[in-house]
Symmetry: D3
Subunit: 243 residues, 6 copies
């Protein structure tokens, strides 16, 4: 089984962190291919970044299909391009926000999101609602560390994140914490050990979910919405995406 | 006042139809600039098309900001790139699905969507839910005419659309019909005359809403989520979007 | 185009404030007729007041129909008699709570209501839910200044309102503030200048919306619920309302 | 214990039917006073009728307070003036739509509404949502018999109502039928015998609920929203309602 | 009329308190039979306790049917076994959580739950949502007194409960307080006198509701879900439940 | 890794079918232990059956904890005793309804449930709502084959199930079918081959989910609701459950 883990931003040091988390989450016989697209923003912290990143995600999925990938993980908490990727892939495609919410609601009633920048919480709201977890998500919080700050100043970032997690648990009855950025994957177990509640890294959760779906033969429904998109001319800068 | 009407697809014949609808909806002293981006799909009928079209929308909004546009209409029923555009613009940005839902709920309790291809109804569901109109939208229907078919075979398209609208009204108590494609703008009044309920073209609705918001001095909130996005390097094919 | 702006209470000094706000919001060629009914409570601060005010609203709408009004604004934040007015009018009728919620959700994700007396927030809850904005309205607040206090002690009222708005923004992530009383119309821009988020006056918003709907030819659906009500004898004090 | 049953319309023959249903539902030692207001429409079939009827309801409640009534039933399926009545009364006030929904959800998961005219179903939707029963109400149906038709042509009305109930049960899994008009009270048991599911008359349900609430000493909360409304001048035709 | 009040736990001193509350809530001619099952946990403070208690509830209902009981009250705030009891009984069965929520929403817009242990609030959430009162329940609170502590240390328990109720009212706009344990029945009126808002004991509310439903001839719908369950072999320890 | 798969009914032939489905879904190195409790109903087709089955589920989980099981699957579509099991277990516990809904929403927008008896659909509604999938579940259907009929007359059962699935897909836009009984596990792939949409067997889905959760180290949150329940005396027939 081959799972392609796409880091939608173009910072390869983060891609390596993500790759490690995916490897640790998969069975020994699962091949993990972790990549960043060759186009797009170096980090994703706004709707504009999400829109730009989605194009690179699409590019990597169509390449993955040619390579025979069995499933895909989209390793950015905004799940950019998820629905487009589901149209393009035959196997399952799971975003890490989506995966984290699913995992959280399997091990408790309620969860809280703790993410990087507060400005991205609107996107988190939309995803929670679309996936069906509005009642279960009891807090939306941000530690106000930028995405690349997780890599560049890991100790300070960890302290800020830990403090925000503690504050979150103090003010609400969440059963678990969902980490709101793929770049936090390496801090997950350390946080869990300190906080004594499940702390959920979406990269691990998504990898486990995709592996499971592939193992039981589940693929994205091609009945209507997620059928392969019809042939279409695309012009200008994006002409290479003509189908 | 200058309103830029962006047709997110790259078919200029459709852009002309949209321009006429926007002109008819605006006060005489409002300048309408209707454009298609210079990149992107020729029509938008899938999540993949939406994702590709969003890039062109962003490009046109950033150009519009340099040109001093007061507000923007996104003239595709999937409202592609709306939130990114709101980040980039100072004035209001309104999508035609959004506008049509707002208008429909101002002239009745309930509405039905009648769109082109059934595969796009998932996107309509997401938009209805995000904007808050889940209780009011009582039917999601498709006439299964492709977007470009509206232009190429207008008579057959009109008949198919009329038949679907009639079937919709027969089976549910909708107070109005929302047309699910900017390319249907030219058929709106003719349908209304035959159906005896309000038939809502989002292009007209969005133009009227943007004009009104601009006139009363309302601009997108820049408090947090829709603040201008932070400086960011973008690489590869999309490097020109570096901020 | 002639828009009738009905202040459902019978305090004409407030009607004059409302008229100014409506004038400022409309295009130059729109005729604004601002009135109070000749019956009803001097201010509206309870369900009982709302019920009494609705009768005067109905009276003014039926007179407006004889006068050829193209649309109506109901300038009280409880939108009293809105659905009855929609039955009686051919053109659009928009309440200022309704309009403010629509406008707020066009310029941001979330809004907070700041109104006069806390006892009226139940009505605000009902309107938010009925119109579909439950997810978007993130705070219901009151400055506990009575409606007529806005007129009688404008400086003190302004300070109390400003303080409540600041407290609201401190405790929640609202993208904008919706003012919960037509009598606050004159304070809107001053508040916006101090608070640096959109502050929304429903009178301006409703006037702009009605003008836009009339311009694009949209009228209340007469399909079923809002069809003109059947002939009916009314007895006693209200016999004049026999249809 | 004295319960005042207010028929919000001014057709006393219907008030007598309602009185019988209330008597049959109350314990032997409960005094039932059934009245119509001395003002208002002869039947209630539109939002306009509801608005006019609410004034008479308020008038009867304030008289009831002087008479020492312990609780109130509002015997019209639109529950007109309910919140105003709750402000004015010390004891509980229950509308028959409200009561029927509560009763239905105590004897089954789901219910269907079968009412008189389809144009009133919008009001039913609003009440169902406000009271919290959106998930439980699985059908909104009308037999298209006008309210006064129930009195004037009882046999034909019964047949039309029975046919609509049967059609309703055939097309949905409702556990019970809620009758959508106080004028149907006399037909309830006969329908139940034919349909073999609970058929719920709101007059009986509301009487039983009010009696129970009074017996256990429950009164409307006067904490904030439903506190007695503040003193207020009312002018013109309604001046008598000055508090 | 004979109403069986089942205390699902096996602590008879609590059953006596419940019996008194039920007697006080019923009309003089209603026979109250209050029992604990002869199997099950001595108090109910977890999902595990609920599951065990449900078996005893079923046992008492089937005995009640043989005894000709007209209706049932389940006197534990988790409403354990409610749906099973509805299948087994011909008359109405009402849980005290269910009854308290219904009563609270008849005397105000909003309510707060104040219960024993915080760990049971998840169950309260599920019940509130299932019964339809999500919008109305504005706070879920616990005084962290165990169920049996109410009996064993009534003064300390009362003080803790009072303090939690006061804190609840200070932080939210609830119109009333719902007590989250049958063992609090004896403290209800004293709390109400101190708090000046309705304080709702579910035992009283459920008794009044069941009496009312029986009086008007309402029985659980046997159409589908709550029809008597089909014959079934049950093996092992529970073999006596073979039907 | 050792996963205990509990068939909550006591029909061991069905337990063997379930065991095969679980084996097929798990990685080669996962040990599957499939059991039925030694008490409880032979099939589960009512709330009464669910309540009785929950006791046996609890018994098997406490035995599993002594045996060092890493996670649990509850293989009945009503997920009986799930929350109690979560309290008792350290590792994850997943019900097959829960698992099927999660899997369905990972491979499509919408799903339809096709179950055995229509009377169990109320329970399905409750689970869908509690888990958060109300918007995604677009049809609740039953083929009216009893649970044991699946075993006893497999060919007739298959035909009835296939026909119901086809009828379901004809009348709604579901992206996938969720099978509503563990006893249907053996028919899943055959149905999928005929229907050309994902057909989801909860046993496979739950096994894959539990394996994934265990592999990434996720355990049920013990913060509050699902903490091990406090020591408690249980009397009578169930005294063995004293903790």
């Amino acid at each position: 089984m081959k799972i392609k883990v796409i880091n939608p931003n173009t910072t390869w040091s983060m891609t390596r962190t993500i790759e490690q988390a995916a490897h640790a989450a998969a069975s020994a016989d699962v091949e993990i291919e972790a990549v960043s697209p060759n186009m797009g923003p170096v980090s994703i912290e706004s709707h504009s970044d999400e829109a730009l990143a989605a194009v690179g995600v699409m590019d990597e999925v169509r390449k993955g299909e040619l390579d025979g990938c069995d499933g895909y993980v989209l390793a950015c908490f905004g799940d950019p391009g998820l629905h487009a990727a589901q149209e393009l892939a035959q196997g399952p495609v799971v975003g890490i926000a989506q995966a984290a919410f699913h995992a959280a609601t399997l091990v408790g009633r309620s969860f809280a999101i703790v993410t990087t920048l507060g400005r991205t919480l609107g996107r988190a709201h939309d995803l929670v609602e679309e996936y069906g977890f509005t009642s279960q998500c009891v807090a939306y919080r941000a530690c106000e560390v930028p995405v690349l700050g997780l890599d560049e100043h890991p100790d300070a970032a960890y302290e800020a994140l830990l403090a925000e997690c503690r504050a979150t648990l103090d003010c609400c009855a969440a059963d678990s914490i969902v980490l709101g950025c793929a770049g936090m994957a390496g801090m997950c177990k350390r946080l869990e050990n300190e906080l004594h509640v499940p702390v959920i890294d979406g990269v691990a959760a998504a990898t486990a979910l995709v592996e499971g779906l592939v193992r039981i033969g589940m693929r994205t429904s091609k009945r209507r919405e997620f059928a392969n998109p019809p042939a279409k001319e695309v012009v200008g800068l994006l002409a290479d995406f003509t189908r």
